[in-house]
């Protein structure tokens, strides 16, 4: 996925063109809409007229969807609709925070490796390759077991496991940007390295990172669900979709709706991020017209 980077002088125009392309990208707008719906629901959770997601009612356990409980109740008689909406917070947060962690570590290291080269690059690259060779989920499981089961630790584990992808991506991008004429002229007029890194390199490595981030949020949400499914993510009584699935798998025959809703929700939100990421990639690709 090599990216030709536009001349900064012309930067303004391509950006508005990107925006226009994105808006016209049908599947991307659909994806964005899906994501937006879940974000709004998650943010509005405290203000919605729904019951307390932790309020148990032992006389109403595992009830099928009804007018009182639109999505039914769970194993302790808690309202599934309410838990789904509150669970959206955990799942979305898991996706966004873990990717933020991956970017916060990955991008600086990638720029360092790509811009300076030499032994800095050699050390960072070898470490990255080593981490990349360990399958993502195995690394995340080991890290989550090490940190102890909780949502925060799951996010950290996923973030660290996703970091090498960002290092490699940023490094490649930084190498090609560093070779651009305008960076060489910046050197020539005597700008300091930190200024060059901040003003020229950083903004120009961002577009592909943005695409990768959107797609990684999608896989991070699945990873959080997977860890929770193994009991290593969000812990009860707080809801998350993965944790709900973990419990629901014990009631698949008697209460299939318990597994239905979280499964569908994960599917929709992940699909949303994937479509959006694809759209962004197309929009940022100058060859696509």
């Amino acid at each position: 996925m090599t990216q030709t980077v536009a001349d900064p002088v012309l930067a303004r125009r391509p950006q508005s063109r990107v925006w226009r392309k994105l808006r016209n990208h049908r599947s991307a707008t659909f994806g964005a809409a899906l994501v937006l719906v879940f974000i709004v629901l998650a943010l509005a959770a405290p203000y919605l007229p729904i019951s307390d997601p932790a309020a148990a009612d032992w006389s109403a356990i595992r009830q099928p969807p009804s007018t009182a409980h639109w999505l039914g109740t769970d194993e302790l008689g808690r309202d599934q609709l309410s838990r789904m909406i509150w669970g959206a917070r955990a799942s979305l947060m898991a996706g966004v925070v873990s990717v933020a962690i991956a970017i916060a570590i990955g991008v600086p290291f990638g720029i360092l490796a790509g811009y300076f080269g030499g032994w800095v690059d050699a050390v960072i690259s070898r470490c990255t390759e080593a981490l990349l060779a360990i399958p993502f989920l195995i690394l995340a499981i080991a890290l989550a077991a090490f940190l102890g089961p909780s949502l925060t630790n799951a996010m950290i584990a996923i973030g660290i496991a996703a970091t090498p992808v960002f290092i490699r991506l940023t490094r490649g991008q930084a190498i090609s940007v560093a070779a651009e004429d305008y960076v060489e002229s910046a050197h020539a007029i005597g700008l300091s390295t930190p200024v060059i890194l901040r003003r020229y390199i950083f903004p120009n490595v961002l577009p592909p990172v943005l695409v990768q981030a959107t797609l990684t949020i999608a896989s991070a949400i699945i990873a959080e669900a997977s860890l929770s499914f193994l009991g290593l993510g969000q812990q009860p009584p707080a809801p998350s979709w993965g944790a709900m699935l973990n419990v629901a798998k014990g009631f698949m025959t008697q209460a299939p709706w318990m597994a239905m809703w979280p499964g569908i929700a994960i599917f929709l939100v992940v699909l949303g991020f994937n479509l959006l990421g694809d759209g962004l990639r197309d929009a940022l690709d100058p060859r696509e017209e």
Partner: protein, 500 residues
């Protein structure tokens, strides 16, 4: 094709046809057993496999009475320090080696001396094994040891062919049980086939049995429903409805010997320094705040049994002075006030990150809140929880025990000073004394009195309390005939057959 080849082919085809008709019972287990060596084995599922593979000196009935298996008779001397045993005649191991007094001696010595034996402590009271003749032995003990006979009815009493000691026992254990080892693929299956020379061969009608570890209870049940398994261990209580609703399946149930409860950290390190660790009244209050029946109904569809003490109501050692406590929120509040915490207090309970345990502690959390106790749940992976517990890094822990035939196995290590499971480091000289004495007398009534005496102290001190006794639940295909669940949770195959 020459004649010999044709005959060979016919023979091969013949055996395949017989093979197709052969009765193979396929059993789904909840996890993969560990080393298949009675001296190294530590898992519950391992014991299930051994039940078919390795005979023990003594067996247990569903009523928990000790009955002959490889030993036909035994007497304990007056001073409790000598056990005379008569051995069954005409028994051979799977490799054809005859079973005799020398074999028993060799096996017990192996349990005592093998470098990585985990049986050592169970047979440590045996000073020497005297072989009187081929069918008589005397066990000389250093001190009276009442639980020893029960140990000999478990892995310590399993007899391996002494000829097999040299090789890697776990890779192909050679015992004298009704079935012999055929094949094992780690995490996939363990296959056993009928041992033709078994001493009790008439009771065995199955030709083979295979054990398949399937950790997920839903998938295990799915295999039973689809006909890929004939019997599943640990049917989830909530799946019993599903099994009942099927005309091809039924379920089996037996009251277990184990329990689940809450253990407090009373003296193990800094974290013991919390209100609950220091004040038995608060522990009592929490126990009173819990509705054990509701937990059993909601989480286990009423299939387990609410518990009050270290043995279940089915045990002859059950103490009628302590029935299952009724929920009494007022009394709980009064105790909390008396202890000086009218304004409420907090407690952290650690529990395994498994759905069932989590449901139980979430219910406890909600119930305790009504009494003013704010509980935070620390969900931990089981391996982490165990080591945190041993290190004293906990306030309270929701743990259980699968149970032993002898009452000693359910209490001694948990509450005596320095006991292997005493993670809260509770220590009371009187309890140590009574429980040690209970180990050394063999008279049942005397032991009963001693355990009841210990109960009285333990109920007041409450280093741990009990919530429910787990029942063993099985999903059984209607093709299986003659299966009876036992309280020790073992799957016995005598009298079991498959109809087509």
């Amino acid at each position: 094709m020459n004649i010999r080849k044709a005959m060979l082919l016919a023979a091969v085809m013949g055996t395949t046809v017989v093979g197709a008709q052969a009765q193979t019972l396929r059993i789904g287990l909840e996890s993969d057993p560990d080393a298949l060596d009675p001296d190294k084995s530590r898992t519950f599922v391992g014991r299930i496999v051994f039940t078919a593979l390795c005979d023990k000196l003594i067996d247990v009935t569903p009523k928990l009475e000790l009955v002959p298996q490889l030993a036909t008779e035994w007497t304990v001397s007056e001073d409790g320090k000598t056990i005379d045993m008569t051995l069954r005649e005409g028994v051979v191991f799977h490799d054809g080696t005859p079973f005799d007094g020398e074999a028993v001696k060799a096996n017990i010595e192996r349990s005592q001396t093998l470098e990585d034996s985990v049986r050592k402590s169970e047979v440590s009271s045996i000073e020497s094994v005297e072989v009187v003749d081929a069918t008589h032995i005397k066990l000389h003990l250093s001190a009276p040891d009442a639980p020893l006979l029960a140990q000999l009815a478990d892995r310590s009493g399993m007899m391996l062919s002494p000829a097999s000691f040299e090789g890697d026992v776990a890779a192909g254990p050679v015992c004298s049980g009704p079935f012999m080892f055929k094949n094992r693929v780690a995490q996939d299956k363990i296959e056993l086939e009928k041992f033709a020379d078994y001493w009790n061969a008439d009771a065995i009608s199955l030709d083979a049995v295979s054990y398949l570890p399937i950790p997920d209870s839903t998938v295990r049940l799915a295999n039973l429903q689809s006909g890929d398994l004939d019997l599943i261990n640990r049917l989830a209580a909530t799946d019993v409805e599903t099994v009942k609703g099927s005309d091809q399946l039924s379920y089996g149930r037996a009251d277990g010997l184990g329990y689940q409860g809450i253990t407090f950290n009373t003296t193990n390190g800094d974290r013991a320094d919390n209100p609950f660790g220091q004040d038995a009244r608060l522990r009592e209050a929490l126990s009173l705040a819990i509705d054990r029946n509701a937990i059993n109904q909601v989480v286990f569809s009423g299939l387990n049994a609410p518990a009050s003490q270290f043995v279940s109501a089915a045990s002859p050692f059950f103490d009628p002075a302590y029935p299952v406590p009724e929920r009494d929120i007022e009394k709980a509040k009064a105790l909390i006030a008396e202890a000086g915490y009218e304004d409420g207090l907090t407690l952290e309970i650690q529990a395994p990150n498994r759905p069932e345990n989590q449901q139980v502690v979430q219910m406890i959390q909600a119930m305790a809140a009504e009494a003013g106790i704010q509980i935070t749940i620390a969900a931990k992976e089981f391996a982490t929880m165990l080591s945190d517990q041993a290190a004293g890094d906990f306030e309270a822990s929701q743990v259980g025990w699968s149970g032993r035939i002898d009452p000693d196995g359910n209490i001694y290590g948990f509450v005596t000073t320095g006991g292997g499971f005493n993670d809260g480091k509770y220590s009371n000289e009187k309890v140590d004394e009574i429980l040690a004495e209970a180990r050394s007398v063999s008279d049942v009534d005397k032991r009963k009195a001693l355990y009841h005496q210990a109960n009285e102290i333990l109920m007041a001190d409450k280093p741990l309390f009990y919530i429910y006794n787990e029942a063993w639940l099985y999903g059984v295909s209607n093709k299986v005939e003659g299966f009876t669940p036992s309280p020790d949770g073992m799957i016995r195959l005598e009298g079991v057959s498959l109809s087509q």
